[in-house]
Subunit: 217 residues, 2 copies
């Protein structure tokens, strides 16, 4: 890294920082919508209940500097965060499993807005293959090698029944994807060098139910 404005997109940031940056982005976008021009770390800290020194440290990874007493220009900070987080790029992905959750994820325009470009789906269900869901065509699983290469897909999103999660992941990795986004509650193993991200929606439900039952609801 040289100078202070270089964005070191390729640096491996600490995961807690990476998880906080989208909160800052969401907040800063709210301010932009409300026509606020500048924002200080103190204000962000108050809004998000995060320690101000933590915010300053997190933002230092972006190579952006605020003005003393005034803070950051909202528009600049938003743009820097969007770019830094990779939301401006298009990341081609294959959706494995076009059932209820898979179809829902394909239909979610939010993912598109955050740079995830689902270019094709695969499913073993012959009633789904050949069909399109929100413009995304669903293929048989044995088409995956061709799809990954032809459509330049780097990410495999897994929303199949949990008992098939590992085998589908193996299929996607063999086809050449570099990252697996696992929406099943299964623990998936991937070879070294492959990125794995778990979004176990149902685990969050378990935590919430437990907390609720402690309230005696």
């Amino acid at each position: 890294m040289s100078e202070k404005h270089q964005i070191t997109e390729n640096a491996q940031l600490p995961e807690p920082t990476l998880r906080r940056l989208p909160w800052y982005l969401a907040y800063v976008s709210t301010l932009r919508v409300a026509n606020v021009e500048y924002v200080s770390t103190t204000r962000i800290a108050e809004a998000l209940s995060v320690d101000p020194s933590q915010i300053a440290k997190d933002l230092s990874f972006l190579g952006i500097r605020g003005k003393t007493r005034i803070g950051y220009l909202v528009a600049d900070l938003e743009e820097t965060l969007v770019t830094f987080l990779g939301f401006r790029k298009r990341h081609n992905a294959i959706m494995a499993g076009a059932g209820s959750l898979g179809a829902a994820l394909i239909a979610d325009s939010g993912l598109q807005r955050y740079g995830l470009n689902i270019v094709a789906g695969i499913d073993i269900n012959p009633e789904l293959t050949g069909r399109k869901i929100s413009g995304v065509e669903i293929f048989r699983p044995d088409a995956v090698n061709d799809l990954v290469r032809r459509l330049d897909a780097h990410i495999g999103v897994i929303a199949v029944p949990f008992e098939s999660a590992q085998s589908v992941s193996d299929l996607l990795v063999a086809a050449g994807v570099k990252a697996i986004w696992n929406f099943t509650p299964s623990r998936i193993r991937v070879p070294e060098g492959i990125v794995i991200s778990n979004t176990s929606i149902y685990s969050h439900l378990a935590v919430m139910y437990n907390r609720l039952s402690a309230l005696d609801v």
Copy 2:
């Protein structure tokens, strides 16, 4: 419920344990589908890359005991986990925001299978109110007090644009929900005694993109 099979559902479990239990459930269900009768902590440990002593400790919260050298009866362990995790009960919920993500969540039968029963939706968009999505009726936000009471909803699921997340959460809490499940990247503040669970799908994307960029993809 008595003796060693007592399920202390109301205990506040450590969150890491609560997040691991659904992994065990997913694995054990896979074994049941494959007609496996018994499973040992060692086998679960190998399959999930979790320390066996950690698994034994986690499962001890369930008040279930395995047999020496044989392990747990798969069917018993599955049933105990499902019940303990609250997936067998119906938890009534209001979906706030019936746009892309909200509609997707309403349509996801997986949530239903894990006990989340979405009984109504609210949305400010007049084109959506009065309509049904997968059988769930969408109402105007000012109907929320009546909905929460009449439909006995304890959970509010938030999938509105991030700039409205806090005000919608306030509305739901004032109407009487005891838990907020937040799908927006916004940080939401709730009064003490209200359960908050954040599932920031897009934060996971940020982490994945960063890891991918470090691979130079």
